[in-house]
């Protein structure tokens, strides 16, 4: 192709492995521009990869899992459980006599375990002082940019059952 033809008639290996060290370090404007353009293509390919992953994404299915029995924990008390897999720690908080909330225990900053601070009525990450609202898991302060994923709970026959995750990223 005419656009990509070498400007000189010397074979490619003579350019890639020159006799003089100075020639080896020399980068022409054309070579540098080609490198930048290839980098641009790599960025484009990255965006295409994200697009393909987005188009192929399927909504995850969550199991139903009993996490606690009503009145099992005191008002202001917490219970740690795992959902939806054994590798996903979550925290259940009883905020009032008839109010329970549950969130993923992984801080959305660097995945430290958050804990419930009863006096401040908020979830706190001890690593970088990230604070989350107990009402909806939104960020109150600190480096986290995203709210905590929430565990949707249902009261079935006196048992709190986790049915799905809400606001969970990929």
């Amino acid at each position: 192709m005419k656009w990509f033809r070498k400007p000189s008639s010397a074979p490619l290996w003579q350019d890639e492995f020159p006799v003089y060290t100075a020639d080896e370090r020399y980068v022409s404007r054309r070579q540098f521009t080609k490198f930048l353009t290839l980098t641009s293509f790599a960025m484009f390919a990255g965006n295409l990869w994200i697009l393909v992953r987005s188009l192929l994404h399927r909504a995850p299915s969550y199991p139903r899992q009993t996490v606690a029995v009503l009145d099992e924990i005191a008002i202001g008390g917490v219970k740690i459980f795992t959902y939806p897999t054994p590798g996903d720690p979550c925290i259940l908080v009883r905020t009032a006599s008839d109010s329970y909330v549950a969130y993923s225990q992984k801080c959305t900053h660097l995945s430290c375990a958050v804990y419930y601070e009863k006096e401040q009525n908020r979830l706190e990450c001890p690593c970088h002082q990230g604070f989350f609202s107990i009402a909806d898991g939104s960020v109150l302060q600190g480096p986290p940019q995203r709210p905590l994923p929430r565990v949707a709970l249902e009261n079935i026959g006196g048992h709190l059952v986790a049915v799905r995750m809400e606001g969970e990223g990929v």
Binding site: T37, F41, G46
Partner: protein, 71 residues
Amino acid sequence: MKKGGLTAIDGAMVLIVLLLIVQIWLLSATLESYLAGYREAAVPGAIISGILFGACLGLYLFVVRIDSEVR
């Protein structure tokens, strides 16, 4: 003629660098949105990134053409 050609090439290179910076930011922002579960940004991100790549390719071809003319 040769000096003007070099100026044009340098200008094109600066433009490519600027476009590339925008494209890197675009990729990081799209990836951040995707990982956060917001997949709506993927389509416009890919389209704009493709346009930026097309502009970079056009500038590269411009550099090659000017380079071969001034030699």
